[in-house]
Structure formats: structure tokens, C-alpha cells
Symmetry: C2
């Protein structure tokens, strides 16, 4: 059974803020009146696999073992990892699989990873993999050849329709995110993804997270 | 003898723009009237060494061999590289030495490199290395122990006093740089370094360069 992930610091701060204003009998300031705390997480390189790919890599009938729940409901980091073999036979070991399985196969790398492997990969939204490079994956039961699906995921924000209403945005809009702290950076193209099942969370990759030196306590602002 | 580096694309474009306006008999628009083209370069991980460190690593009397001239006058990438040994005996091979020699030793890594090695390194201006972590370097003649000097270099812009006057900034001020293109990003803290010997050039590290997907043709703007 997977462990519950810790509650993100931004969520705790959001709840504390609400409580303090309520106790003081004061209305929440505009900046604190968002329906949900803004959680920003760095996605390290990972892959999403189909049930068929999992069986080919790990054996007939094999199913992924949840290791850690992620912030989006139902999503988890699996205990299983694979080895990615790039175009010049360079490899990345221990590429984490994120579950549950999907109906397509996709590897998400930062450009730094891709350059180390010798890949030239495009910036795409998750799932938009037509015409992207492929790769070989290696598991304990054998190889799986992905004809396409190696991408750099465009930075994006998952949000519930309530969040979209608060920020005044719609599915597929782009927003800016200012990251404060020691190496302040503003990401100008954060793609909005709206779904009833989503919790408010920005996903950036390791290059983006390291460029701005993101830490759990770093203050981030999302704006149109 | 070192080869001459190519003229950066931004410099060629700047010259062409000036020529076209002159030919058309039109005054240059404000945006094109900067004294120099804005050149933005990514600094991959590298080190600066003292003559003593070079001798200890490569042998008595050894001097660096320039391989490629860099954009700043006199600076070059040396043919020589060293192996960096981190705190958990993890290594990075082929760490490029930049010449000429300085009177201190400094290793500049991106956070992605530092995390891979197991380092916790601070963001510092070049030369400001008091109290920073050290490391071991390995060359064909032996080891050299650096007691301190492993940093992430703060993003910065070299400029001549003419450029500083045009932008209305002084040494040690900070500026913003907007990088356009597919993954637009604004870096909010570009530290200004002014010197008579400097050419206008922004240096960002590989995390920053990969986060914004910087290419030779990417349009960048520097603002106060």
C-alpha cells in the first residue's frame, strides 16, 4: 500500500491564514481569498506506461505497486523503475514509473536529461506525442520499444473549475507564474489544464525548478 | 593556438539592423539604438584555477592551452579538463578549465550538476567564495584539494560603461531579462558587472538555459 504524501506547506499556510483571519473577525484580503492554496511541484524525469508495456517489461499479468501518492487524486509514484536507452546507447537508470497506467506510453525528460542522452526532444503537452522521438525501455522481463513519446512536458497548472473561475482562465489558456526567493524567475507560459478531478498544482521540470531554486517554502504567484 | 569563436548571431543582426536603417535614411528606433548587441550565452559547468593548482594537476611548469576564445576579451576555454570528485565520491569527468589563470580556484556548477554529485552549493557572484564547499580535483599529475570555491554562479551581465549608461544601471545593480521563444521566461535578478574591458554579454547556467530553451536565434531583452 502506498504511503500518504505529506500535506504541502502551501496548503498548511493557506489553512492557517484562513483560521487567523476568521479568529480576528476580519475578511480575507483578496490575495488570500483563493479557493485553494497554490502548490508548485517539480516533476523529475519519469514515464507513464500502458498495461501492455508494463507486462512486456515486468512479466505477464504484472501490475504496478504504488509507492507514494502524488498530490493529484489517484496518481502515484510506483515502486517500479525502468532503464531508458537513448539514441546513442546512453542510458538513464531508475526512471520512475508514475501510475496508474494510461492508454499510451510517454517519457518526460528535462532538456538537461535529453542532452546528456543525445536526444533532441520537443516541448509538448502531456499526451500530445504524435511525431515525437521514441526510445527503448528495459525492465527485468525484457525490452519495450516505444516508437514515439519522449517529450519535455510544457510547464502546466492543474486546476479545478473553482480555481479556473477564481483566476479567470479556461482550459488551455496560459498564465504567468512568478517564483520569488534567491533566484527569482517568472515563467510566462504555464498551460492551464482544468478538470473536476484536479487539485490546484503547478508542475515544472527539474531544469525549471533548479533555475529558480524552488524550495518547499518558496513563495509563488500565479497570474493571468 | 586557439581558434576564433564565431561572431554571435545577435551581433550580426545588430550590425545588419544598423546598416538597413542607415541605407533607408531612417533614424534607429529606440529599441535598436543600444551601443552593442545583447549576447546571451550559457555557461556549462567549468572551473577557474590558479597557476599553482594547474601545476599540481598537470605537472611542474605546466601552462594551459587555449582551445577556443570566448566572447569576453582574453577569456578562453582551455584544452585541459579535470575530474571533479564530490562529497560522496561521485565524479564529473571532463570539467572544462577556463583560462587565463586567476589567483583563486572556483568550480561553477548548475544545481542539477550539484544535486547529481550530492553537493549543497550556494548561489554566489564569481569570486565571492568565502565559506563555500570545497572538492577534490584530479588531473594527470595528481590531486588538488580545493578547501572552498564550489558555487552556482548568479546569473549576470558583463557590460562596458557605455552599455551601463544606455541601460541606466551601475555595477552590482540587478536587471530583468526576458527570454522569448517556445518556453518564455523572465529572469528577475541578473547582476550587472561593469568594466572597461567587458563586452555586453549575459551568462546564465545550463539549468537556466535549458529552462528557457535558449537557442542562438532566441530573442532576449534586458530591462531595468
Amino acid at each position: 500500500m502506498a504511503t500518504n504524501s505529506n500535506i504541502p506547506r502551501a496548503v498548511v499556510e493557506h489553512m492557517v491564514r484562513e483560521q487567523i483571519y476568521a479568529k480576528m473577525g476580519l475578511p480575507l484580503p483578496k490575495s488570500a481569498s483563493a479557493p485553494n492554496a497554490l502548490v508548485v511541484n517539480v516533476s523529475a524525469r519519469h514515464c507513464h506506461l500502458s498495461p501492455q508495456a508494463v507486462e512486456q517489461l515486468f512479466g505477464p499479468g504484472y501490475e504496478l505497486t504504488p509507492m507514494k501518492h502524488l498530490y493529484q487524486a489517484g496518481a502515484y509514484a510506483a515502486r517500479e523503475t525502468v532503464t531508458l536507452v537513448g539514441p546513442r546507447s546512453r542510458v538513464i537508470s531508475n526512471l520512475r514509473i508514475l501510475g496508474p497506467c494510461r492508454d499510451f506510453n510517454q517519457v518526460e525528460l528535462a532538456y538537461t536529461d535529453a542532452i546528456a542522452l543525445g536526444f533532441d526532444i520537443p516541448l509538448r503537452l502531456s499526451g500530445d506525442i504524435e511525431g515525437t522521438p521514441g526510445c527503448m525501455l528495459m525492465g527485468p522481463n525484457g525490452f519495450f520499444e516505444m516508437a514515439q513519446g519522449v517529450i519535455r512536458a510544457a510547464p502546466h497548472v492543474h486546476m479545478h473549475p473553482d480555481d479556473a473561475a477564481y483566476y479567470g482562465v479556461r482550459h488551455r489558456d496560459v498564465m504567468k507564474m512568478k517564483v520569488h526567493g534567491e533566484c527569482p524567475v517568472t515563467f510566462d507560459n504555464i498551460v492551464v489544464r482544468v478538470d473536476e478531478s484536479f487539485s490546484l498544482e503547478v508542475h515544472i521540470d527539474t531544469d525549471e525548478g533548479n533555475a529558480c531554486g524552488l524550495k518547499p517554502e518558496t513563495f509563488c504567484e500565479l497570474n493571468q
